[in-house]
């Protein structure tokens, strides 16, 4: 096992870098986009803010549609669009587009749930006090939903890591690709095991970071 580890050390490091690049970049982008979409879903479904069925149903339909397509197919479907946006059909960069789209749709629904969990009574109280709706959203709803949002970002990060393992199919590289090409196609069982171990460690690491962030934020506040 150690021998094969040394043998693939370079490849593993390269794969790790690719995975980190794809996951982190698309996580950052999808959190921003998903947060905005989640806010739109929340605001348009809340009678105390700006209820609007048409916008809610439209945005919700788009998010649902994206979520219902398996990532593998979404990725292939998005290749021409990737080429248009990032200028290439192959490599880690090309994978960023479908990865971000899928993760954003996923996170949008989770964010909507985080916002909806904010106490309706608190919302009522601050609106009754004469506060501006935009201030209610950014100064009350967002801070109140913070802890729940961070938990959901953690869940999204783990999903993104999982999605990114399929990037090899379009030459995106990454740990998943390494496991597939060496571990499966070249019958190197050890490589497969090492890759799985690395992925397990990464998921644990993401979860740990999320937990610590929640603890730090919960300490201030309630």
């Amino acid at each position: 096992m150690l021998e094969s580890f040394i043998e693939i050390e370079d490849k593993l490091l390269k794969a790790l870098k690719e995975t980190a690049f794809m996951s982190l970049t698309s996580l950052a982008l999808s959190v921003l986009i998903g947060l905005a979409l989640g806010l739109i879903l929340y605001i348009t479904s809340e009678p105390l803010l700006k209820k609007n069925n048409l916008i809610y149903e439209t945005v919700g339909f788009i998010a649902n549609t994206i979520s219902s397509i398996p990532f593998l197919i979404l990725m292939i479907f998005f290749l021409p669009i990737s080429a248009f946006i990032v200028g290439t059909k192959i490599g880690s960069k090309a994978v960023l587009v479908p990865l971000t789209v899928a993760a954003a749709a996923f996170f949008a629904r989770l964010a909507e749930a985080s916002f909806s969990d904010v106490d309706k009574g608190v919302l009522e109280a601050v609106i009754a006090s004469g506060a501006k709706k935009s201030h209610v959203i950014f100064k009350i709803v967002l801070p109140e939903a913070k802890v729940s949002l961070i938990k959901n970002i953690t869940v999204t990060a783990v999903s993104v890591l999982g999605f990114s393992a399929m990037a090899g199919l379009v030459g995106g590289g990454g740990i998943g690709d390494l496991a597939y090409r060496y571990g499966y196609q070249r019958y190197k069982k050890e490589v497969m095991i090492i890759c799985i171990l690395v992925l397990i460690i990464l998921v644990q690491l993401i979860q740990k970071i999320g937990d610590v962030a929640v603890r730090v934020i919960s300490k201030r506040g309630r």
């Binding site: 009574g121 608190v122 009754a128 801070p143």
Partner: protein, 345 residues
């Protein structure tokens, strides 16, 4: 808050109906309700749950829009106000809730500061006002505590401070004491009375606790099935209710069953005596005993005070010579508000 319309009350609810569509079914929460609330009054809205009390209360600050009818505050129809004017009006109308509804991620100071900054006060003005408010509601020492660290009574005090932050003229209270124990309820009600008296704040309070009504309300509106079925002075409502629903509601509260064992053992006539207004002032029992030489045994009794006026009910047995007992009963009947024979001699 002036208008060419002649305003008789500070808050005028005129023929207000509120209906919702829920799963294609139309639900009428408030039906043709009219109520006038004068400046400086404490008005209660009572009724069973689902009677539309909360919905009606929320039409006063337009948290709930009306389907038809009008709500006027100081002569201004609030349905017609722009978003900006509505926010200004809401600065004048504070609101407190059963579950306090404090912002959990902010401490006491920031909870109150938020509403002050929203009404364009500077940080320095806010700081000064917050100190004043916390002193007034008696929780200066909790300035930097978070809601989760406070007791129910303390949370309601913070909520009251927040509601009054912008010198509100009206305070809407949605079951403010229903989540509090008896002792804390008393303290919070006293604070509300003080606010009404010292600051001249008009208070509208919804509750299902009749004790709360007796304690602080000048007038009461009774709601049933979305309608206001009766509006009366508090003392009058408890002594001479007109509507059947009101009678039922009040009777439920004061109903008392004499245990069967007692009914069998105690000799003589058993009667229930209600007394209020001027009849409550007399030493009726004593007079009857002296005048007719009958034995009177008090089985159960309760006296409430509404705005310092007594309202009582007594269960007594009258025993002695049959003719004298009859005369004694007639005397009691003529000199009390209402009597009822529970068992004849």
């Amino acid at each position: 808050m002036s208008d060419e319309k002649t305003a008789t009350g500070l808050i005028e609810i005129e023929n207000v109906t509120v209906s919702f569509k829920q799963k294609k079914k139309k639900i009428v929460a408030v039906k043709d309700a009219s109520l006038t609330i004068n400046e400086g009054e404490i008005v209660g809205i009572i009724g069973s749950s689902g009677a539309g009390k909360s919905t009606l209360l929320r039409t006063i600050n337009r948290l709930q829009g009306v389907s038809s009818g009008r709500v006027l505050i100081g002569g201004q129809e609030i349905e017609k106000l722009s978003e900006k004017k509505l926010r200004e009006l809401r600065n004048d109308i504070g609101m407190i809730f059963q579950h306090f509804n404090l912002i959990g991620s902010k401490d006491v100071y920031s909870n109150i500061e938020f509403v002050l900054l929203e009404s364009k006060k500077t940080k320095a003005e806010a700081a000064k006002r917050i100190d004043e408010l916390l002193r007034y509601v008696g929780i200066e020492d909790k300035k930097h505590a978070y809601p989760a660290q406070l007791s129910g009574g303390q949370k309601q005090r913070v909520a009251i401070a927040r509601a009054l932050a912008n010198e509100a003229k009206i305070l809407l209270c949605d079951e403010p004491t229903s989540a509090l124990d008896a002792e804390t309820t008393e303290a919070v009600l006293n604070l509300l009375k003080q606010i009404n008296k010292e600051l001249g704040v008009t208070i509208v309070i919804i509750t299902h606790e009749l004790d709360v009504v007796k304690e602080i309300c000048d007038r009461v509106a009774v709601m049933n099935g979305g309608e206001i079925v009766e509006t009366a002075d508090t003392y009058k409502l408890f002594t001479e209710p007109v509507n059947d629903f009101t009678k039922n509601l009040i009777q439920k509260e004061s109903s008392f069953q004499i245990p069967r064992g007692v009914l069998n053992e105690v000799p003589g006539k058993i009667i229930r005596i209600d007394y209020y207004n001027e009849t409550a002032e007399r030493a009726l029992i004593n007079e009857t005993i002296e005048k007719f030489g009958v034995k009177i045994n008090i089985l159960h009794g309760k006296i409430d005070f509404i705005k310092n006026r007594p309202l009582g009910v007594l269960f007594v047995s009258v025993d002695g010579d049959p003719a004298r007992t009859r005369e004694a009963y007639k005397f009691i009947k003529d000199n009390s508000a209402r009597t009822e024979v529970l068992r004849d001699a």
